[in-house]
Amino acid sequence: MKRFILITVLCGIMLSLQILPLCAQGREFDEYEVKAVFLANFFKFVEWPTGNRSYRLCIYGSDPFGEHVKILDGMKIRGKTLEIRRPVSARAVNDCNILFISSSERRRIRALLDATRGLNLLTVGDTEGYAQEGVMVNFYIEASKVKFEINLDSIKRSRIGISSQLLKLGRMVDHE
């Protein structure tokens, strides 16, 4: 009984000491929490030929992010405000900076890429095979980590510039 009281008291004191509720360790995230943050990060490494007052991140097709992009909406990146858009047709993507193409667009991917050619937007996906189809940056998962592959040909054909720091982090794919 004595021991039990001792432990309880000790635990009590320890808990009352909780001052700064910072985390102690890492954890596993939902993949879309992480991918959303990657998308926000990409704005720091990409230069668009035409400047706007704000940055626009567009999610095309069925939205896999849900509430995980809420935190990005209105965020300041390099002095600009980030806006989230969900265009419903390929004609409405003109003012996007980054176009995330959902895996629901698998069957229409070629037509969609043809329609966006020359618009100077960074196309991003997370579907196997997208990079080979011409999507510029494509997420994949390896050993429980989010990684991305890069289609350099597609980027070169556009007028956007990508920093070498970002290129170094990605895996290059050959365009078919």
Partner: protein, 679 residues
């Protein structure tokens, strides 16, 4: 005598508590001296991270459910993942500790081995044969007893585990025999996870100590290397068994017979697709219970299990997301049992089992029409030695000298078909042929429906089987206690499962129900001649429901609660199977205490009563385990202090037939102090 021990215990406890208090104080001081960046906990923390670090953040996926990495919600099974973080946070010492925290799993200990059950199913005399244990995809169940070793006899130090994937339900459609109730895939830490030299020392109750040294590095030329060695010694407890309470057997006291020693070694080299892994472990355990009619209270009775393997695999990635993996492996297993018997005279009876096998495997993954993922594979295993011996040392008498060899061939395929954006069909099967047994095809079909974002409903049907192992077929000790049954047939299972997984506002919910039906079940029985023998004992069916809720709060607090109900009956007479509680409830809660300097992981586990072989019940119990953890207390030093069975609850689990006892008392309150330093 008892009193003196008690007093000593209090002194020890006070000392340890004082130590814990000092840790707290020091952690506060060092917090001021060395304020360090906290690791990410919420999405907000991720936003402030440099992109290079973002690439190291873990996401929830599973590898073992389909043999390729996929989202847990897309996997054709109900899955639990235990990460290295949780292993640290809750002070887990063995795989048995890890699995006891998993929803619907139940692990017992008879002071010789740990016994693992799931879905209400745990048979006495069974060495975890109905669960397939994989280490980085390498099959660990040996070729004599089919053992999935989850105690200190597990080949890998738990500190080297990156994650444990628990994949419930039949897995024979991918892995063949043994994947009866589930597959446990253990994934080791990579070189970058260890990154340099790391040493660790532990001290615990009953003169237990452990040391580990590990080295991991990724070199400029792409070579990744992991090397690790571990040594463990435990004097063990003095135990008492009322069944032996007579003058001839030391009034039931078994002193200095609970010793346990092990050492293990692990190495892994990776270079552009080539992966070479080798491991070896050997563990010695005293048997303090008088099992197998051995002389009670004598430390000469012991078991030694040794296991080792070399696995070489090559992974080649082709265009159009095609993958090819080829694997070649060699495995070794040896059991050396010493049983002191009193015929009279006192005679050392020896049991020796040696298993050697090699095998090869080819695995292909590709796409059909950009949408559907298909895999196919071939596996060949050659059990070129399955040897079992039993003899008396002196006077020499030979009871068993059984040498066998066998082989198996398996071919499997599985497809993940996207029917609509909301419906996924996962279907596959595997055909196996084992020497001396007719071939069998085991299918698995899962329909996965995603009606809304963050909701998945899985309807799964699967079949699995298990080939009787060499021990069940051929072991006999000269018909003194146990006899062979070479006529055994494989046992089979059909499982139906409905799983709902849901993510709402930071909560992860899982609700599932299952029904299964086992046929030609292999059970150990006592025959009319009084000898233990394995027989195909007919049908059994099991059903259950499981519920789990998990939450991660900002501020580093996380928690998980699960409840599982399960019952298994023999179909012939509707009698309940024992050995497994009908109700299991588990709570894990982790919270930082002082900023990111000190944290606590609390675990509460409830198990209801279990029926033992006397058809009486071992009472239900609630256990509390607590771990206090201070990471990076001094730049590179981690300290943790764990108290297991904090309330010192006296409880027992049912024993199997080789014991006079109907149940074996489990550990009371024990402690562990652990320090890990990185150079």
């Amino acid at each position: 005598m008892e009193h003196k021990k008690f007093g000593k215990k209090v002194v020890l406890l006070r000392g340890l508590l004082l130590q814990a208090l000092l840790i707290v104080l020091f952690s506060g001081v060092f917090h001021v001296l060395y304020g360090m960046e906290p690791e990410p906990q919420t999405q907000k923390d991720l936003i402030t991270m440099p992109i290079e670090e973002l690439m190291g953040v873990g996401v929830s996926t599973v590898l073992g459910a389909s043999r390729y990495e996929q989202r847990i919600s897309d996997a054709p099974a109900s899955i639990s993942i235990i990460t290295s973080e949780e292993i640290k946070r809750y002070g887990y010492r063995t795989m048995a500790d890890v699995l006891n925290s998993v929803r619907g799993f139940f692990v017992t200990y008879d002071r010789n081995y740990n016994y693992l059950g799931s879905g209400g199913f745990l048979r006495q005399g069974d060495y975890n044969t109905r669960m397939l244990l994989l280490l980085d995809g390498h099959r660990m169940n040996n070729n004599i007893y089919d053992t999935a070793a989850v105690g200190n006899d597990f080949i890998l130090d738990l500190d080297l585990v990156d994650r444990v994937e628990v994949i419930r339900g039949p897995g024979s459609s991918l892995y063949g025999s043994n994947a009866f109730f589930g597959v446990i895939n253990v994934i080791t830490k990579g070189s970058s996870h260890i990154n340099g030299l790391e040493v660790s020392a532990e001290a615990g109750s009953f003169d237990t100590n452990k040391q580990r040294a590990s080295f991991g590095r990724k070199f400029g030329n792409g070579l990744e290397m992991v090397l690790s060695a571990t040594r463990y010694r435990s004097k063990g407890q003095n135990l008492s068994y009322k069944e032996y309470d007579s003058p001839g057997t030391n009034f039931g006291s078994s002193d200095n017979n609970d010793l346990e020693d092990y050492s293990s070694f692990f190495t892994n080299f990776k270079l552009s697709g080539l992966n070479v892994q080798a491991a070896y472990g050997s563990r010695k355990k005293g048997i303090p219970t008088g099992a197998w009619s051995t002389v009670f209270d004598d430390d000469r009775t012991r078991s030694v299990d040794a296991q080792g393997y070399i696995d070489v695999n090559y992974h080649k990635r082709f265009e159009n997301s095609q993958d090819l993996v080829v694997r070649l492996f060699y495995d070794y297993y040896r059991y050396d049992g010493k049983y002191l018997l009193d015929y009279p005279p006192l005679t050392m009876n020896r049991d020796l089992a040696v298993g050697k096998w090699w095998g090869t495997e080819a695995f292909y993954k590709g796409k059909i029409g950009d949408r559907h993922t298909v895999i196919a594979g071939l596996e060949y295993r050659d059990n070129f030695l399955q040897q079992q011996k039993n003899w008396d040392d002196s006077p020499y008498a030979n009871y068993l000298d059984d040498n066998r060899a066998s082989y198996s061939i398996g071919a499997y395929a599985q497809g993940e078909f996207i029917i609509t954006d909301k419906v996924l069909l996962n279907a596959g099967g595997r055909y196996d042929h084992y020497k001396d047994f007719s071939g069998r095809f085991n299918p698995r079909v899962a329909l996965i429906y995603t009606p809304a974002d963050k909701t998945a409903v899985k309807l799964i049907y699967g079949e699995a089987y298990r080939i009787p192992n060499a021990y069940e077929l051929y072991y006999s000790d000269g018909n003194v206690l146990q006899k062979a049954n070479p006529g055994l047939d494989p046992e089979t299972i059909r499982t139906y499962e409905l799983v709902l997984e849901q993510y709402v506002k930071g909560f992860r919910l899982s609700l599932s129900g299952f029904y299964y039906d086992v046929d030609r079940l292999i059970s150990q029985q006592t025959g009319a001649d009084g000898l233990l023998v394995f027989n195909n004992t007919g049908r059994a069916d099991g059903r259950g429901v499981q519920f789990e809720i998990e939450r991660k709060w900002s501020g580093g607090i996380s928690g998980r609660f699960s409840y599982a109900f399960q019952e298994v009956k023999s179909s012939a007479d509707d009698v309940d199977f024992g050995n497994f509680p009908k109700h299991l409830a588990k709570l894990n809660f982790f919270t930082p205490i002082i900023s990111n300097r000190l944290a606590a992981g609390i675990e509460v586990q409830y198990a209801s009563a279990q029926k033992n072989l006397n058809s009486t019940y071992d009472g239900g119990y609630t256990l509390v385990n607590a771990t206090f953890l201070s990471e990076k207390i001094l730049r590179n030093l981690d300290l943790s202090f764990s108290i297991y069975n904090v309330l010192d609850k006296k409880y027992s689990n049912p024993a199997s037939r080789e014991h006079v006892q109907s149940d074996i008392e489990q550990d009371g309150r024990t402690f562990r102090l652990k320090a890990t330093y990185r150079f």
